[in-house]
Symmetry: C2
Subunit: 219 residues, 2 copies
């Protein structure tokens, strides 16, 4: 298996070189780039729909949508008026730097304030591939169980923010915000945690304030 | 990238050879082997807890638990009295044949009727690695959205059964059993679909009947 391991490492290193170049580009253009990651159906697209609609007067925003198949999500976020480009991985389990390079070439980057990358729904593989982002942002929905940070540690270890979504369903599931938060803080003491309900719009102000601060830090 | 593609194919081929041997072994021993797959938190472990408890008088069952980290799930299913062995992938996004070989060596396989393999929570990568199972079984929880079969097609294309879990939460989410079922049937016209609520025990009789039939087919 030695040969395999070498090749895998080369793929990771090639990706890392692309990520460094993308980061330099985003820094030069003063664009805040965020890499959104979660399980399938945790609410990445719903969070984007709310955020793009609520902050459209404040920031110029664009979205790169990653999915195995379909352009459903790009159509959903484009309905808010934001620029969106769909990347289909054709079965691939994560986005990589070359896909972001191609997507950036499709977008009008002029004067952009924030670029959101919605990764493939997967709590494992996307965490291993940097995309030149300023921050990784994880979404965990309360219907998934409060043990998920402990069971999928890399994702939460690397994220600057964990949104705990679907808090409107808390009365109907066994989920402790305290337990999930404690697990995440153990992996990453600086992680910022925001309980939200994207479907109803609850709790989003704290997320928007974090976005404003992160955006200001890029100027 | 030609070299990388070749190596990846070799890894898949080596796994396929192991899977064929495992299948031959399970056939010889007349053990029904099922590979359970879903997103993180869709309810694989809850389904196993119910199934192991409800059918313990009828079948001798064992479980191979796949997780990146922790042995929480093996402890949960072992509490029902069933044999359980935990496989930690140490960050790996799926189980492969060599992990199943090692786990089988740890288990008492004598007179076993059903071996459940609970794969890593991931709707993408586990579908690509056969483990010698008789059937792949997918679980989709209604909180994940009814678009998931369309967006993650391989998993549902290859599964003999799709359990639609957490139906007790249907009143609180936007999910159509009909839409999810239609998408899954389009990918796989023979897929059997069972709406269930593992937390409450609803709808499990149809799943148990399917298990009895699949078990009988191995004798």
């Amino acid at each position: 298996m030695g040969k395999t391991v070498t090749i895998v490492r080369n793929v990771m290193e090639a990706n890392e070189r692309r990520a460094v170049k993308l980061k330099e580009y985003f820094d030069k253009e003063k664009i805040l780039c965020l890499n959104l990651m979660s399980s399938p159906g945790a609410g990445k697209t719903s969070l984007l729909e709310r955020t793009l609609a609520d902050l459209k007067g404040e920031f110029k925003m664009a979205v790169i949508e990653g999915d195995l198949q379909t352009d459903n999500d790009a159509r959903r976020v484009a309905a808010t008026g934001a620029q969106a480009v769909q990347v289909n991985t054709e079965g691939g389990c994560h986005l990589d730097g070359s896909m972001i390079e191609d997507a950036v070439a499709e977008l009008d980057m002029q004067g952009l304030d924030i670029l959101f990358i919605e990764n493939v729904g997967n709590l494992v593989c996307p965490a291993e591939f940097n995309l030149g982002e300023d921050h990784k942002v994880s979404i965990l929905s309360v219907t998934e169980g409060d043990d998920k940070p402990e069971k999928y540690p890399l994702m939460f270890h690397l994220s600057s923010v964990m949104l705990l979504n679907k808090t409107d369903l808390l009365p109907y599931v066994d989920f402790s915000l305290e337990v999930a938060s404690a697990h995440a803080k153990k992996l990453n003491k600086d992680i910022e945690i925001f309980p939200v309900a994207c479907r109803k719009g609850d709790g989003l102000d704290a997320w928007y304030d974090w976005l404003r601060k992160a955006r200001a830090a890029k100027r």
